[in-house]
């Protein structure tokens, strides 16, 4: 069993008691709520005549069904079901006294983008949300877990979840990332190495030089996709990068109170002699940008590599999965993903919908034009990100290049709104899942990649190496987009 890790310390601090079923009752320090997985839980609460136990520790926004076209946000929403979901959320949070970041707040967006940027997610917390990408918040050194609706009911009613303690695997990512290689590439590499179910029974503690060198937005992208590797949570120990990110944010204390809070944050970091259940090393040195070629996030290659042959895999399950993937993606082993035709370019999501993501993509789009055959969507992860981009003129770079500049939401990551793939369209996507049917069409094809690679694919109309576009602009590609300090 692990000992002295952040996971152990945060678990112990939040453990209420051991339950008769052998699980631990854990207090949830931050409960994030959205419109899709919560109405049934509020319904169950009402059936039992229970109140929300900790409304002050609960925050809600709307993301999955949020229309991303400005004119479609008028109420009532044109989509009756979406309106019903949003109205239910508004009613539920209103009755419970839960803070809600709705369309009018200027802070609406994807839960996993909104909570970090407001300073709600902090080191040493337990974070729960009815969404598997709650692992994102582990970037701060918290334990973020995705839960089902019955567990949302638990958290609403008791402020707690019943949980099984997992094993802790330390994932050391060695090396230095080259120009044009990002956090997204790192996590795709980790999932490729460890497998889509390699993390089952574990949480991942990411560390090592390639992780420590990442800024907070990169760390959020890495932790976000922990679930794609089967890990229940993923986290990074808090350090100066973390503290500097948090300083001055809306829900973070100031002055002396900040220093006191920081002492708690520092106290939960893994000890130098912490014991792990498992330690693995992933080599990110000299990594090329990665793209998926298949139908799960572990089916990924460096852009310089050919699509593998099913026989390249030793495990039967991997071989069969490869055969299915080749069939769905309509590609052949040995083929390069470079030149794979793209119909849609999608930039956004809880993985890659932050300011730095749009800034890196803008470097590619400056003085370039989206290929005429490509439908290109830029969807900021939150209204705050949208404003940050617009203050810096990043929106104009996207619009001038031929992207549609949208309002915040989950958009076509899972297509619960008006944004979806049609037929067998191929989407170059900054999202986290390339599952069959994920983007709204059962024949649709998703190629996961970093934001810069999405921008390059939009310009070329096919999967391309973003690094070859990096120097296109008259100012070294950066254009005017970096002139405003963050």
């Amino acid at each position: 069993m692990s000992e002295g890790t952040l996971y152990d310390k945060v678990w112990d601090r939040h453990k209420v008691t051991e339950l008769p079923n052998g699980q631990d009752q854990l207090f949830v320090g931050l409960h994030l709520v959205h419109e899709v997985t919560s109405p049934q839980a509020f319904g169950m609460l009402r059936e039992r005549e229970l109140d929300v136990a900790y409304p002050d520790r609960t925050f809600a926004t709307t993301d999955h069904i949020a229309p991303t076209e400005a004119e479609k946000r008028e109420r009532p929403l044109a989509d009756d079901q979406a309106e019903e979901m949003l109205s239910a959320l508004e009613r539920n949070v209103g009755e419970s006294g839960i803070t809600f970041f709705g369309f009018e707040s200027g802070k609406q967006g994807i839960t996993h983008v909104v909570a970090p940027e407001l300073g709600l997610s902090q080191p040493g917390m337990t974070v729960a949300c009815g969404d598997s990408h709650t692992a994102t918040h582990g970037a701060f050194g918290s334990i973020g877990v995705g839960i089902g609706t019955s567990q949302i009911r638990d958290v609403l009613a008791t402020g707690c979840i019943a949980a099984d303690k997992q094993q802790v695997r330390r994932v050391n990512v060695e090396g230095e990332l080259g120009e044009g290689v990002y956090a997204k590439d790192v996590i795709l590499k980790v999932i490729q190495d460890l497998g889509v179910d390699g993390g089952v029974g574990h949480v991942y503690e990411y560390g090592g030089p390639a992780i420590e060198a990442l800024d907070m937005e990169g760390r959020l992208a890495v932790c976000n996709m922990s679930i794609e590797g089967g890990a229940r949570a993923g986290y990074i120990n808090p350090d100066e990068t973390t503290y500097e990110y948090l300083r001055g944010r809306e829900y973070v204390p100031e002055g002396e109170a900040f220093e006191e809070r920081k002492a708690y944050w520092e106290s939960v970091a893994s000890d130098e002699d912490a014991e792990y259940d498992d330690v693995v090393t992933v080599d990110a040195d000299g990594l090329d940008p990665l793209v998926t070629w298949g139908i799960n996030p572990g089916q990924v290659i460096e852009i310089s590599e050919p699509v593998p042959h099913p026989d390249d895999f030793t495990a039967r399950t991997d071989r069969e999965a490869a055969e299915q993937a080749l069939d769905h993606m309509e590609i052949d082993p040995g083929q390069s993903m470079l030149g794979y035709d793209v119909d849609v370019a999608f930039l956004g999501t809880c993985t890659n919908g932050r300011l730095s993501d749009f800034r890196e993509a803008a470097k590619i789009l400056e003085d370039n034009t989206v290929d005429e055959g490509v439908r290109a969507l830029a969807v900021p992860g939150s209204e705050t990100v949208r404003q940050q981009c617009e203050e810096r003129g990043i929106d104009e770079v996207f619009i001038n290049a031929g992207f549609q500049w949208r309002r915040a939401g989950c958009s076509m990551c899972l297509a619960m709104n008006d944004d979806a793939l049609e037929g067998d369209e191929v989407c170059a996507s900054s999202s986290n899942r390339n599952f069959v049917g994920r983007q709204g069409s059962k024949d649709g094809r998703t190629v996961l990649m970093s934001p810069a690679m999405v921008a390059a694919a939009a310009v070329e109309g096919e999967v391309a190496d973003a690094r070859e576009h990096a120097d296109d602009g008259p100012t070294g590609g950066a254009g005017g987009v970096e002139e405003v300090a963050d």
Binding site: N21, F27, V196, T317
Partner: protein, 206 residues
Amino acid sequence: MPAIDSTEDQHITGVSGTGVPIPGDDVDTDQILPAKFMKEVTFDNMADYLFYDARRDDDGAFNDHPLNRFEGASIAVVNSNFGCGSSREHAPQAMMRWGIDGVVGESYAEIFRDNCKSLGIPAVTTDHETVVRLQEWIEENPNGDIEVDVEGETVTYGDTTIDVDVDDAMREALVEGIWDTTALMYSNRSKVDETVAGLPYVEGDD
């Protein structure tokens, strides 16, 4: 006192019925319950959407998907990493409402298994070869009964009884009838207050 459900009569020592094989590794919750059908504020209609894209042809008519061929089945037999991806409880809710009372498989994604536990659906595991044999047996014996003994950790079909694994917490919860975790945890409110008192961020000045 709020109307917390009694945990009596929730003991699930075993489930039985005919089987349905749902072959494939890494079957994700987007396949089990496509996101487009989550735009309802109740789980009431979820059975209609179970494996929707896989079960229907381009005209919306049922195809030869196992769920169409084995209607009335109550034990799903699946392969490895079943239920990966999204945390949506809509997926096991859809299975339960379609008629699935228990799942036998090689392995499950954590959240999916937790969701099954919350719903009182035993999700037991065994090795690949055993799962495949059971899937083949169901194909040959569509009306054959399968008994999942949660307490004894066995599955019996035809003349065969196999050992299976049931996660400790799941077995304890189901057999003891304590899978209603809201009721369990609600009784510990004073202890929660003690835990909260030790957390600097909860009642801080921010």
